[in-house]
Protein backbone atom coordinates (compact mmCIF):
# COMPACT_ATOMS: atom_id res chain seq x y z
CA UNK A 1 0.00 0.00 0.00
CA UNK A 2 1.44 3.35 -1.02
CA UNK A 3 0.05 6.56 0.46
CA UNK A 4 1.05 9.74 -1.32
CA UNK A 5 0.57 13.08 0.41
CA UNK A 6 0.90 16.33 -1.51
CA UNK A 7 1.84 19.14 0.86
CA UNK A 8 3.67 18.93 4.18
CA UNK A 9 2.18 21.47 6.53
CA UNK A 10 -0.36 20.99 9.33
CA UNK A 11 -2.77 18.63 7.53
CA UNK A 12 -0.15 16.64 5.62
CA UNK A 13 2.20 16.13 8.56
CA UNK A 14 -0.62 15.10 10.89
CA UNK A 15 -2.01 12.69 8.30
CA UNK A 16 1.40 11.09 7.77
CA UNK A 17 1.90 10.72 11.50
CA UNK A 18 -1.56 9.16 11.88
CA UNK A 19 -1.05 6.74 9.01
CA UNK A 20 2.29 5.61 10.42
CA UNK A 21 0.80 5.10 13.88
CA UNK A 22 -1.92 2.85 12.47
CA UNK A 23 0.14 1.03 9.83
CA UNK A 24 3.84 0.43 10.37
CA UNK A 25 4.35 -1.35 7.07
CA UNK A 26 2.85 0.87 4.37
CA UNK A 27 4.83 3.24 2.19
CA UNK A 28 4.28 6.97 2.74
CA UNK A 29 5.55 9.53 0.24
CA UNK A 30 5.30 13.25 1.00
CA UNK A 31 5.83 15.93 -1.59
CA UNK A 32 6.31 19.58 -0.73
CA UNK A 33 7.38 22.57 -2.76
CA UNK A 34 9.23 23.81 0.33
CA UNK A 35 12.76 22.61 1.08
CA UNK A 36 12.16 22.69 4.83
CA UNK A 37 8.44 22.35 5.41
CA UNK A 38 8.63 21.38 9.10
CA UNK A 39 7.75 24.77 10.52
CA UNK A 40 4.57 26.31 11.80
CA UNK A 41 3.12 28.90 9.46
CA UNK A 42 1.08 30.73 12.14
CA UNK A 43 4.40 31.47 13.88
CA UNK A 44 6.07 33.43 11.10
CA UNK A 45 4.87 36.73 12.60
CA UNK A 46 6.90 35.88 15.73
CA UNK A 47 9.88 35.22 13.48
CA UNK A 48 9.36 38.52 11.69
CA UNK A 49 9.21 40.28 15.06
CA UNK A 50 12.49 38.65 16.06
CA UNK A 51 10.89 36.82 18.98
CA UNK A 52 11.50 33.33 17.59
CA UNK A 53 14.41 31.95 15.63
CA UNK A 54 13.97 29.75 12.57
CA UNK A 55 14.65 26.68 14.72
CA UNK A 56 11.90 27.75 17.14
CA UNK A 57 9.31 27.56 14.36
CA UNK A 58 9.59 23.80 14.19
CA UNK A 59 6.63 21.91 15.66
CA UNK A 60 8.05 18.43 15.15
CA UNK A 61 11.52 17.02 15.82
CA UNK A 62 13.98 17.56 12.92
CA UNK A 63 14.14 13.80 12.30
CA UNK A 64 10.37 13.56 11.90
CA UNK A 65 10.49 12.16 8.36
CA UNK A 66 13.14 9.53 9.14
CA UNK A 67 11.61 8.41 12.40
CA UNK A 68 8.25 7.93 10.70
CA UNK A 69 9.86 6.26 7.66
CA UNK A 70 8.47 8.81 5.27
CA UNK A 71 9.91 9.06 1.79
CA UNK A 72 10.10 12.79 1.00
CA UNK A 73 10.37 14.80 -2.21
CA UNK A 74 11.13 18.31 -0.98
CA UNK A 75 11.41 21.41 -3.11
CA UNK A 76 9.34 19.54 -5.69
CA UNK A 77 5.95 20.44 -7.13
CA UNK A 78 3.26 18.16 -8.44
CA UNK A 79 2.44 19.39 -11.92
CA UNK A 80 -0.24 16.94 -12.99
CA UNK A 81 -2.68 14.51 -11.47
CA UNK A 82 -4.19 11.70 -13.50
CA UNK A 83 -6.94 10.14 -11.43
CA UNK A 84 -7.77 7.45 -13.98
CA UNK A 85 -4.43 5.73 -13.69
CA UNK A 86 -3.73 6.98 -10.13
CA UNK A 87 -0.53 8.75 -11.03
CA UNK A 88 1.05 12.13 -10.41
CA UNK A 89 3.73 13.89 -12.42
CA UNK A 90 6.41 15.81 -10.53
CA UNK A 91 8.26 18.99 -11.52
CA UNK A 92 11.40 16.84 -11.69
CA UNK A 93 9.86 15.03 -14.65
CA UNK A 94 9.39 11.82 -12.68
CA UNK A 95 6.00 10.27 -12.10
CA UNK A 96 4.64 8.42 -9.13
CA UNK A 97 1.68 6.11 -8.66
CA UNK A 98 -0.44 5.92 -5.54
CA UNK A 99 -2.96 3.63 -3.89
CA UNK A 100 -4.35 6.42 -1.72
CA UNK A 101 -3.73 10.10 -2.36
CA UNK A 102 -4.12 12.96 0.10
CA UNK A 103 -4.22 16.49 -1.27
CA UNK A 104 -3.09 19.09 1.25
CA UNK A 105 -1.92 21.75 -1.14
CA UNK A 106 -3.13 24.52 1.16
CA UNK A 107 -3.95 28.03 0.09
CA UNK A 108 -2.09 31.07 -1.18
CA UNK A 109 -2.39 34.78 -0.43
CA UNK A 110 -4.66 36.68 -2.79
CA UNK A 111 -2.95 39.27 -4.97
CA UNK A 112 -5.68 41.45 -6.42
CA UNK A 113 -5.04 42.64 -9.99
CA UNK A 114 -4.04 46.22 -9.20
CA UNK A 115 -1.41 48.11 -11.16
CA UNK A 116 2.13 47.57 -9.94
CA UNK A 117 1.37 44.55 -7.78
CA UNK A 118 4.32 42.67 -9.31
CA UNK A 119 6.85 45.26 -8.13
CA UNK A 120 9.76 44.27 -5.93
CA UNK A 121 8.83 44.81 -2.30
CA UNK A 122 5.28 43.39 -2.44
CA UNK A 123 4.95 40.26 -0.31
CA UNK A 124 2.36 37.75 0.78
CA UNK A 125 2.62 36.60 4.37
CA UNK A 126 2.18 32.88 4.59
CA UNK A 127 5.44 31.02 4.31
CA UNK A 128 8.82 31.25 5.97
CA UNK A 129 10.16 32.37 2.60
CA UNK A 130 7.74 35.33 2.67
CA UNK A 131 8.99 36.33 6.13
CA UNK A 132 12.62 35.93 5.10
CA UNK A 133 12.02 38.01 1.99
CA UNK A 134 10.52 40.79 4.09
CA UNK A 135 13.45 40.64 6.52
CA UNK A 136 15.92 41.00 3.64
CA UNK A 137 14.15 44.16 2.49
CA UNK A 138 13.85 45.67 5.97
CA UNK A 139 17.21 47.48 6.17
CA UNK A 140 16.04 50.02 3.61
CA UNK A 141 12.39 50.17 4.69
CA UNK A 142 11.25 53.25 6.60
CA UNK A 143 7.53 52.89 5.95
CA UNK A 144 5.56 49.70 5.39
CA UNK A 145 1.93 49.33 4.37
CA UNK A 146 -0.19 46.28 5.07
CA UNK A 147 -3.10 45.98 2.66
CA UNK A 148 -5.99 44.29 4.44
CA UNK A 149 -7.13 44.48 8.03
CA UNK A 150 -7.56 40.76 8.62
CA UNK A 151 -5.77 38.49 11.02
CA UNK A 152 -2.79 37.75 8.78
CA UNK A 153 -2.30 41.39 7.84
CA UNK A 154 -2.39 42.51 11.44
CA UNK A 155 -0.01 39.79 12.54
CA UNK A 156 2.37 41.02 9.86
CA UNK A 157 1.86 44.61 11.00
CA UNK A 158 2.69 43.70 14.61
CA UNK A 159 5.75 41.75 13.46
CA UNK A 160 6.97 44.72 11.43
CA UNK A 161 6.23 47.20 14.20
CA UNK A 162 8.43 45.19 16.55
CA UNK A 163 11.39 46.08 14.33
CA UNK A 164 12.90 49.43 15.18
CA UNK A 165 12.54 52.26 12.73
CA UNK A 166 9.68 50.96 10.59
CA UNK A 167 6.51 53.02 10.47
CA UNK A 168 3.59 50.68 9.80
CA UNK A 169 0.19 51.53 8.36
CA UNK A 170 -2.66 49.08 8.00
CA UNK A 171 -5.01 49.98 5.14
CA UNK A 172 -8.30 48.09 4.97
CA UNK A 173 -11.20 48.24 2.51
CA UNK A 174 -13.71 47.37 5.17
CA UNK A 175 -15.24 49.87 7.60
CA UNK A 176 -13.39 48.16 10.47
CA UNK A 177 -10.31 45.99 10.90
CA UNK A 178 -10.72 42.28 11.72
CA UNK A 179 -14.15 42.43 10.13
CA UNK A 180 -14.34 38.65 9.69
CA UNK A 181 -13.62 37.98 13.36
CA UNK A 182 -15.57 40.70 15.09
CA UNK A 183 -17.98 43.55 14.69
CA UNK A 184 -17.60 47.23 15.38
CA UNK A 185 -17.34 47.29 19.16
CA UNK A 186 -14.51 44.80 19.48
CA UNK A 187 -12.69 46.17 16.44
CA UNK A 188 -12.54 49.66 17.92
CA UNK A 189 -10.73 48.23 20.95
CA UNK A 190 -7.98 47.05 18.60
CA UNK A 191 -7.96 50.16 16.45
CA UNK A 192 -7.36 52.18 19.62
CA UNK A 193 -4.65 49.78 20.76
CA UNK A 194 -2.81 49.84 17.43
CA UNK A 195 -2.85 53.61 17.25
CA UNK A 196 -1.65 53.81 20.83
CA UNK A 197 1.30 51.57 19.96
CA UNK A 198 2.16 53.54 16.85
CA UNK A 199 0.59 51.36 14.15
CA UNK A 200 -1.61 53.57 11.96
CA UNK A 201 -4.97 52.20 10.90
CA UNK A 202 -6.87 53.46 7.86
CA UNK A 203 -10.21 51.91 7.00
CA UNK A 204 -12.51 52.20 3.96
CA UNK A 205 -9.55 52.69 1.64
CA UNK A 206 -9.05 50.64 -1.50
CA UNK A 207 -5.59 50.39 -2.99
CA UNK A 208 -5.67 51.26 -6.68
CA UNK A 209 -2.05 51.41 -7.73
CA UNK A 210 1.32 50.42 -6.36
CA UNK A 211 3.68 53.26 -7.16
CA UNK A 212 7.37 53.23 -8.00
CA UNK A 213 9.79 51.96 -10.62
CA UNK A 214 11.17 48.49 -10.24
CA UNK A 215 10.75 48.74 -6.47
CA UNK A 216 7.76 49.84 -4.42
CA UNK A 217 7.75 53.51 -3.53
CA UNK A 218 4.18 53.99 -2.39
CA UNK A 219 0.55 53.12 -2.79
CA UNK A 220 -2.31 55.19 -4.20
CA UNK A 221 -5.86 54.66 -3.00
CA UNK A 222 -9.18 55.06 -4.81
CA UNK A 223 -9.96 58.26 -2.88
CA UNK A 224 -6.85 59.85 -4.38
CA UNK A 225 -4.74 59.77 -1.22
CA UNK A 226 -1.34 58.14 -1.24
CA UNK A 227 1.14 56.71 1.20
CA UNK A 228 4.88 56.49 0.74
CA UNK A 229 6.28 53.06 1.53
CA UNK A 230 9.10 50.75 0.53
CA UNK A 231 7.34 47.55 1.53
CA UNK A 232 3.82 46.22 1.05
CA UNK A 233 2.39 43.12 2.70
CA UNK A 234 -0.78 41.66 1.21
CA UNK A 235 -3.31 40.65 3.84
CA UNK A 236 -6.30 40.21 1.58
CA UNK A 237 -7.07 36.66 2.59
CA UNK A 238 -6.16 33.39 0.94
CA UNK A 239 -7.55 31.17 -1.77
CA UNK A 240 -7.26 27.41 -2.02
CA UNK A 241 -4.53 26.03 -4.29
CA UNK A 242 -6.71 24.22 -6.80
CA UNK A 243 -4.54 24.36 -9.95
CA UNK A 244 -3.66 20.71 -9.66
CA UNK A 245 -7.22 19.43 -9.62
CA UNK A 246 -8.66 21.82 -12.20
CA UNK A 247 -9.42 19.69 -15.21
CA UNK A 248 -9.61 16.47 -13.20
CA UNK A 249 -12.88 14.82 -12.15
CA UNK A 250 -12.42 15.88 -8.51
CA UNK A 251 -15.29 18.10 -7.39
CA UNK A 252 -14.57 21.52 -5.93
CA UNK A 253 -16.15 24.89 -5.21
CA UNK A 254 -14.00 27.31 -3.17
CA UNK A 255 -12.07 24.25 -2.05
CA UNK A 256 -12.06 20.53 -2.71
CA UNK A 257 -15.38 19.11 -1.55
CA UNK A 258 -14.94 16.31 0.96
CA UNK A 259 -17.29 14.16 2.99
CA UNK A 260 -17.13 13.38 6.70
CA UNK A 261 -14.25 10.95 6.07
CA UNK A 262 -12.36 13.78 4.33
CA UNK A 263 -12.70 11.78 1.12
CA UNK A 264 -13.36 13.49 -2.22
CA UNK A 265 -15.86 12.25 -4.79
CA UNK A 266 -13.14 9.82 -5.89
CA UNK A 267 -12.84 6.92 -3.49
CA UNK A 268 -9.06 6.76 -3.08
CA UNK A 269 -8.44 10.52 -3.06
CA UNK A 270 -8.69 12.55 0.12
CA UNK A 271 -8.23 16.23 0.87
CA UNK A 272 -7.58 18.09 4.12
CA UNK A 273 -6.50 21.46 5.42
CA UNK A 274 -6.84 24.86 3.79
CA UNK A 275 -7.55 23.35 0.37
CA UNK A 276 -10.54 21.33 1.62
CA UNK A 277 -14.14 22.44 1.82
CA UNK A 278 -15.76 20.68 4.76
CA UNK A 279 -19.09 20.80 6.54
CA UNK A 280 -19.21 23.91 8.71
CA UNK A 281 -21.17 22.99 11.83
CA UNK A 282 -22.31 26.52 12.52
CA UNK A 283 -23.22 27.49 8.97
CA UNK A 284 -24.72 24.13 8.12
CA UNK A 285 -23.07 24.10 4.69
CA UNK A 286 -19.70 23.20 3.24
CA UNK A 287 -17.13 25.93 3.77
CA UNK A 288 -13.37 26.43 3.58
CA UNK A 289 -12.14 27.25 7.07
CA UNK A 290 -8.45 27.77 6.42
CA UNK A 291 -7.27 27.43 10.01
CA UNK A 292 -4.51 25.51 11.71
CA UNK A 293 -6.67 23.55 14.22
CA UNK A 294 -9.09 22.51 11.46
CA UNK A 295 -6.20 21.44 9.22
CA UNK A 296 -4.66 19.26 11.92
CA UNK A 297 -7.95 17.60 12.79
CA UNK A 298 -8.79 16.98 9.14
CA UNK A 299 -5.31 15.54 8.61
CA UNK A 300 -5.92 13.10 11.44
CA UNK A 301 -9.33 12.12 10.09
CA UNK A 302 -8.05 11.71 6.52
CA UNK A 303 -5.00 9.71 7.64
CA UNK A 304 -7.10 7.40 9.75
CA UNK A 305 -9.62 6.73 6.98
CA UNK A 306 -6.84 6.17 4.45
CA UNK A 307 -5.63 3.23 6.51
CA UNK A 308 -9.17 1.83 6.61
CA UNK A 309 -9.93 2.86 10.16
CA UNK A 310 -13.17 4.78 9.76
CA UNK A 311 -13.26 8.07 11.60
CA UNK A 312 -15.90 10.72 11.07
CA UNK A 313 -15.26 14.44 11.13
CA UNK A 314 -17.69 16.41 13.27
CA UNK A 315 -17.16 19.41 11.02
CA UNK A 316 -15.22 22.63 10.97
CA UNK A 317 -16.04 26.15 12.07
CA UNK A 318 -14.48 29.55 11.87
CA UNK A 319 -12.41 30.06 15.01
CA UNK A 320 -9.26 31.85 15.89
CA UNK A 321 -7.20 32.89 18.82
CA UNK A 322 -4.47 35.46 18.62
CA UNK A 323 -2.69 37.91 20.82
CA UNK A 324 -1.93 41.28 19.30
CA UNK A 325 0.36 43.53 21.35
CA UNK A 326 -0.42 41.53 24.51
CA UNK A 327 -4.19 41.86 24.13
CA UNK A 328 -5.74 38.44 23.44
CA UNK A 329 -8.81 37.78 21.35
CA UNK A 330 -10.75 34.60 20.66
CA UNK A 331 -13.50 34.62 18.10
CA UNK A 332 -15.54 31.78 16.64
CA UNK A 333 -18.57 31.17 14.50
CA UNK A 334 -20.47 33.93 12.75
CA UNK A 335 -19.03 36.84 14.69
CA UNK A 336 -17.92 39.03 11.80
CA UNK A 337 -19.05 42.51 10.92
CA UNK A 338 -21.17 41.40 7.98
CA UNK A 339 -22.90 38.49 9.71
CA UNK A 340 -26.47 39.46 10.33
CA UNK A 341 -28.05 36.06 10.83
CA UNK A 342 -28.66 36.19 14.54
CA UNK A 343 -31.68 36.98 16.65
CA UNK A 344 -30.09 38.09 19.86
CA UNK A 345 -26.81 39.47 21.05
CA UNK A 346 -25.29 39.90 24.47
CA UNK A 347 -22.56 42.53 24.69
CA UNK A 348 -20.44 43.54 27.65
CA UNK A 349 -17.68 46.08 27.80
CA UNK A 350 -16.72 46.28 31.46
CA UNK A 351 -13.48 48.16 30.84
CA UNK A 352 -11.51 49.78 28.05
CA UNK A 353 -9.60 46.65 27.05
CA UNK A 354 -12.28 44.03 27.70
CA UNK A 355 -15.08 43.29 25.28
CA UNK A 356 -17.40 40.29 25.04
CA UNK A 357 -20.13 39.48 22.60
CA UNK A 358 -22.21 36.35 22.06
CA UNK A 359 -24.71 35.92 19.23
CA UNK A 360 -27.66 33.58 19.47
CA UNK A 361 -30.31 32.21 17.16
CA UNK A 362 -33.18 30.07 18.41
CA UNK A 363 -31.48 29.78 21.79
CA UNK A 364 -28.25 28.48 20.28
CA UNK A 365 -24.90 30.22 20.15
CA UNK A 366 -23.89 30.98 16.56
CA UNK A 367 -20.88 33.17 17.22
CA UNK A 368 -18.86 34.93 19.88
CA UNK A 369 -15.87 37.14 20.41
CA UNK A 370 -13.92 37.67 23.61
CA UNK A 371 -11.31 40.42 23.83
CA UNK A 372 -9.02 40.91 26.79
CA UNK A 373 -10.45 38.17 29.02
CA UNK A 374 -10.65 34.88 27.21
CA UNK A 375 -10.92 32.31 30.02
CA UNK A 376 -14.40 31.06 29.15
CA UNK A 377 -13.79 30.67 25.44
CA UNK A 378 -13.47 26.88 25.42
CA UNK A 379 -16.82 26.37 27.13
CA UNK A 380 -18.67 28.89 24.97
CA UNK A 381 -17.19 27.28 21.87
CA UNK A 382 -18.20 23.86 23.18
CA UNK A 383 -21.81 24.99 23.60
CA UNK A 384 -21.75 26.44 20.09
CA UNK A 385 -20.19 23.40 18.44
CA UNK A 386 -22.69 21.04 20.12
CA UNK A 387 -25.61 23.14 18.87
CA UNK A 388 -27.35 22.98 22.24
CA UNK A 389 -30.05 25.29 23.49
CA UNK A 390 -28.40 27.63 26.00
CA UNK A 391 -31.49 29.63 26.95
CA UNK A 392 -31.03 28.75 30.61
CA UNK A 393 -27.34 29.61 30.58
CA UNK A 394 -27.05 32.63 28.39
CA UNK A 395 -27.22 35.20 31.17
CA UNK A 396 -24.40 33.57 33.12
CA UNK A 397 -21.99 32.93 30.23
CA UNK A 398 -19.82 35.87 31.21
CA UNK A 399 -19.98 35.39 34.97
CA UNK A 400 -16.65 35.13 36.71
CA UNK A 401 -17.65 31.77 38.18
CA UNK A 402 -18.92 30.30 34.91
CA UNK A 403 -17.23 26.93 34.72
CA UNK A 404 -17.86 23.41 33.52
CA UNK A 405 -20.37 22.83 36.33
CA UNK A 406 -22.81 25.09 34.47
CA UNK A 407 -22.48 22.92 31.37
CA UNK A 408 -22.86 19.66 33.31
CA UNK A 409 -26.68 19.44 33.19
CA UNK A 410 -26.47 19.47 29.37
CA UNK A 411 -23.71 16.87 29.36
CA UNK A 412 -25.82 14.63 31.60
CA UNK A 413 -29.04 15.11 29.65
CA UNK A 414 -27.67 14.86 26.12
CA UNK A 415 -25.20 11.96 25.96
CA UNK A 416 -25.76 11.66 22.22
CA UNK A 417 -24.37 15.14 21.64
CA UNK A 418 -21.67 14.99 24.29
CA UNK A 419 -20.46 11.62 23.10
CA UNK A 420 -16.70 11.93 23.69
CA UNK A 421 -15.40 9.22 26.07
CA UNK A 422 -14.22 11.88 28.53
CA UNK A 423 -17.80 13.10 28.97
CA UNK A 424 -19.02 9.54 29.47
CA UNK A 425 -16.48 9.10 32.27
CA UNK A 426 -17.77 12.21 33.94
CA UNK A 427 -21.39 11.09 33.59
CA UNK A 428 -20.49 7.78 35.27
CA UNK A 429 -18.95 9.52 38.26
CA UNK A 430 -21.76 12.03 38.66
CA UNK A 431 -24.56 9.52 38.26
CA UNK A 432 -23.10 7.22 40.91
CA UNK A 433 -22.92 10.16 43.31
CA UNK A 434 -26.45 11.31 42.45
CA UNK A 435 -27.80 7.87 43.30
CA UNK A 436 -26.09 7.95 46.70
Amino acid sequence: MRHVIIGASAAGITAAETIRKLDSACAIVMISDEENPLYSRPLISYYLAGELSEADLSYRPPNFFESNQIDTRLGVRVVRLDTRVARILLSTGKSLTYDKLLITTGAAPKFPPIDGIQKKGVFGFRTLKDAQGILRELPHVRQAVVLGGGLVGLKAACGLAARQGVEVTVAADSPRILSQMMSEGAATVYEDLFEERGIHVRTRVTAQEILGGECVEGVRFADGTRLDCQLIVMGKGVEANLELIEGTDIQYEHGILVNERCCTNIENIYAAGDVAQTMDVVRGEKWTNALWPCAVEQGRIAGSNMTGQVMRYQGSMAMNSVQFLDLPVISAGLAGLREKNYEEEIIQRPSRWVYRRVLLTEGRIVGFVLVGEIERAGLIRLLMSKRVDVSTLKDSLFDRNFNFAKVLPLVLDQPERFSEPEYQELRDAIQVALRQ
Binding site: S321, A405, E422, A429
Partner: protein, 173 residues
Protein backbone atom coordinates in the same frame (compact mmCIF):
# COMPACT_ATOMS: atom_id res chain seq x y z
CA UNK B 1 -3.15 5.34 30.78
CA UNK B 2 -2.89 6.48 34.37
CA UNK B 3 -5.11 9.43 35.11
CA UNK B 4 -6.66 11.11 38.13
CA UNK B 5 -10.38 10.60 38.74
CA UNK B 6 -12.62 12.06 41.40
CA UNK B 7 -15.12 9.94 43.30
CA UNK B 8 -17.85 12.55 43.71
CA UNK B 9 -19.38 10.54 46.59
CA UNK B 10 -16.38 11.41 48.72
CA UNK B 11 -15.53 14.91 47.51
CA UNK B 12 -16.29 17.59 50.09
CA UNK B 13 -15.53 20.50 47.82
CA UNK B 14 -12.89 21.67 50.30
CA UNK B 15 -10.52 22.86 47.52
CA UNK B 16 -7.48 21.36 49.24
CA UNK B 17 -6.58 19.81 45.87
CA UNK B 18 -6.88 23.18 44.14
CA UNK B 19 -4.66 24.89 46.68
CA UNK B 20 -2.05 22.14 46.65
CA UNK B 21 -2.04 22.19 42.84
CA UNK B 22 -1.31 25.91 42.83
CA UNK B 23 1.48 25.42 45.39
CA UNK B 24 2.98 22.56 43.39
CA UNK B 25 3.10 24.83 40.34
CA UNK B 26 4.63 27.76 42.20
CA UNK B 27 8.31 28.73 42.27
CA UNK B 28 8.85 27.94 45.94
CA UNK B 29 6.46 24.98 46.18
CA UNK B 30 5.31 25.97 49.65
CA UNK B 31 2.20 27.87 50.74
CA UNK B 32 3.58 31.11 52.14
CA UNK B 33 6.25 31.36 49.51
CA UNK B 34 3.68 30.84 46.78
CA UNK B 35 1.43 33.53 48.22
CA UNK B 36 4.22 36.07 48.02
CA UNK B 37 5.25 35.36 44.44
CA UNK B 38 5.01 38.16 41.94
CA UNK B 39 3.00 35.99 39.51
CA UNK B 40 0.55 34.14 41.76
CA UNK B 41 0.58 30.45 40.81
CA UNK B 42 -2.52 29.24 38.99
CA UNK B 43 -4.22 25.98 39.99
CA UNK B 44 -4.78 23.55 37.14
CA UNK B 45 -7.90 22.04 38.60
CA UNK B 46 -11.34 23.20 39.63
CA UNK B 47 -14.08 21.97 41.92
CA UNK B 48 -17.46 21.66 40.25
CA UNK B 49 -20.52 21.93 42.44
CA UNK B 50 -23.70 20.47 41.03
CA UNK B 51 -26.96 19.59 42.78
CA UNK B 52 -25.27 19.10 46.14
CA UNK B 53 -22.44 17.10 44.62
CA UNK B 54 -18.83 18.21 44.41
CA UNK B 55 -16.34 16.94 41.90
CA UNK B 56 -12.73 17.96 41.53
CA UNK B 57 -11.71 18.08 37.88
CA UNK B 58 -8.49 18.60 35.96
CA UNK B 59 -7.41 17.99 32.36
CA UNK B 60 -8.78 14.67 31.11
CA UNK B 61 -5.81 14.16 28.79
CA UNK B 62 -8.41 13.48 26.10
CA UNK B 63 -8.00 10.62 23.68
CA UNK B 64 -8.28 12.92 20.65
CA UNK B 65 -7.05 15.98 22.49
CA UNK B 66 -8.32 19.12 20.72
CA UNK B 67 -5.63 21.23 22.41
CA UNK B 68 -2.90 19.11 20.81
CA UNK B 69 -4.56 19.57 17.41
CA UNK B 70 -4.86 23.30 17.90
CA UNK B 71 -1.36 24.00 19.24
CA UNK B 72 0.57 25.96 16.63
CA UNK B 73 3.98 25.47 18.21
CA UNK B 74 4.02 21.77 19.06
CA UNK B 75 4.29 22.73 22.75
CA UNK B 76 1.26 20.63 23.62
CA UNK B 77 1.96 17.00 22.80
CA UNK B 78 0.83 13.63 24.06
CA UNK B 79 3.75 11.80 25.62
CA UNK B 80 4.24 8.02 25.56
CA UNK B 81 2.11 7.70 28.73
CA UNK B 82 -0.80 9.52 27.10
CA UNK B 83 -0.27 12.63 29.21
CA UNK B 84 -0.92 15.88 27.40
CA UNK B 85 1.86 18.12 28.62
CA UNK B 86 2.89 21.63 27.71
CA UNK B 87 6.52 22.27 26.82
CA UNK B 88 6.75 25.68 28.43
CA UNK B 89 9.86 26.56 26.44
CA UNK B 90 7.90 26.24 23.18
CA UNK B 91 4.58 27.83 24.22
CA UNK B 92 4.14 31.34 22.82
CA UNK B 93 0.77 32.05 24.44
CA UNK B 94 -1.46 32.06 21.35
CA UNK B 95 -4.29 30.49 23.43
CA UNK B 96 -5.61 28.21 20.71
CA UNK B 97 -5.75 25.55 23.45
CA UNK B 98 -7.91 27.80 25.62
CA UNK B 99 -10.25 28.19 22.65
CA UNK B 100 -10.73 24.46 22.08
CA UNK B 101 -10.56 22.85 25.54
CA UNK B 102 -13.78 20.87 26.05
CA UNK B 103 -13.66 21.39 29.80
CA UNK B 104 -12.37 24.95 30.05
CA UNK B 105 -9.37 23.61 31.93
CA UNK B 106 -6.48 25.37 30.21
CA UNK B 107 -5.68 28.73 31.76
CA UNK B 108 -4.01 31.52 29.84
CA UNK B 109 -1.25 32.64 32.18
CA UNK B 110 2.14 33.40 30.63
CA UNK B 111 2.01 29.94 29.10
CA UNK B 112 -0.84 27.47 28.72
CA UNK B 113 -1.34 26.27 32.27
CA UNK B 114 -2.93 22.84 32.58
CA UNK B 115 -2.58 19.61 34.54
CA UNK B 116 0.86 18.19 33.76
CA UNK B 117 0.67 15.18 36.07
CA UNK B 118 3.20 16.78 38.46
CA UNK B 119 6.45 16.12 36.55
CA UNK B 120 8.53 17.50 39.42
CA UNK B 121 7.21 14.72 41.66
CA UNK B 122 8.45 11.97 39.41
CA UNK B 123 9.99 9.27 41.55
CA UNK B 124 7.51 9.72 44.36
CA UNK B 125 5.06 6.89 44.79
CA UNK B 126 1.60 6.31 46.19
CA UNK B 127 -0.44 9.32 47.27
CA UNK B 128 2.63 11.55 47.18
CA UNK B 129 2.98 11.09 43.42
CA UNK B 130 0.44 13.86 42.70
CA UNK B 131 -0.03 17.00 44.80
CA UNK B 132 -3.84 17.00 44.55
CA UNK B 133 -4.15 13.33 45.48
CA UNK B 134 -1.86 13.77 48.45
CA UNK B 135 -3.84 16.77 49.69
CA UNK B 136 -7.31 15.21 49.49
CA UNK B 137 -8.55 14.61 53.06
CA UNK B 138 -11.17 12.04 52.06
CA UNK B 139 -9.28 10.03 49.43
CA UNK B 140 -11.77 11.16 46.81
CA UNK B 141 -9.06 11.39 44.16
CA UNK B 142 -8.18 8.10 42.54
CA UNK B 143 -5.15 7.36 40.41
CA UNK B 144 -5.25 4.63 37.82
CA UNK B 145 -6.85 3.32 34.66
CA UNK B 146 -10.44 4.23 33.93
CA UNK B 147 -11.50 0.59 34.14
CA UNK B 148 -10.21 0.43 37.71
CA UNK B 149 -12.03 3.62 38.58
CA UNK B 150 -15.25 2.07 37.26
CA UNK B 151 -14.74 -0.88 39.61
CA UNK B 152 -14.31 1.56 42.45
CA UNK B 153 -17.53 3.32 41.52
CA UNK B 154 -19.34 -0.02 41.57
CA UNK B 155 -18.44 -0.49 45.25
CA UNK B 156 -20.26 1.29 48.06
CA UNK B 157 -18.24 4.07 49.68
CA UNK B 158 -16.42 3.34 52.89
CA UNK B 159 -17.62 4.91 56.13
CA UNK B 160 -16.89 8.63 56.22
CA UNK B 161 -13.69 9.86 57.74
CA UNK B 162 -13.87 11.88 60.99
CA UNK B 163 -12.12 14.72 59.16
CA UNK B 164 -14.80 14.65 56.48
CA UNK B 165 -17.49 14.98 59.12
CA UNK B 166 -15.62 17.81 60.74
CA UNK B 167 -15.47 19.66 57.44
CA UNK B 168 -19.19 19.54 56.98
CA UNK B 169 -19.79 16.46 54.91
CA UNK B 170 -23.48 16.32 54.13
CA UNK B 171 -24.36 12.77 53.26
CA UNK B 172 -23.96 11.05 56.61
CA UNK B 173 -25.06 7.46 56.59
Amino acid sequence: MERIFCDARKCLGCHACVVSCAIEHSQTKELFGAMGEEEPPVPRRAVLSFEGINLSLSCRHCEDAPCVDACITGALRKDQNGTVACDVAKCVGCWMCVMVCRFGLVSPTVIAAKCDMCPDREGRTGKARYACVEACPTDALFVGQYEDFQKLLAQPVKPRSPLGRLMGERRLS
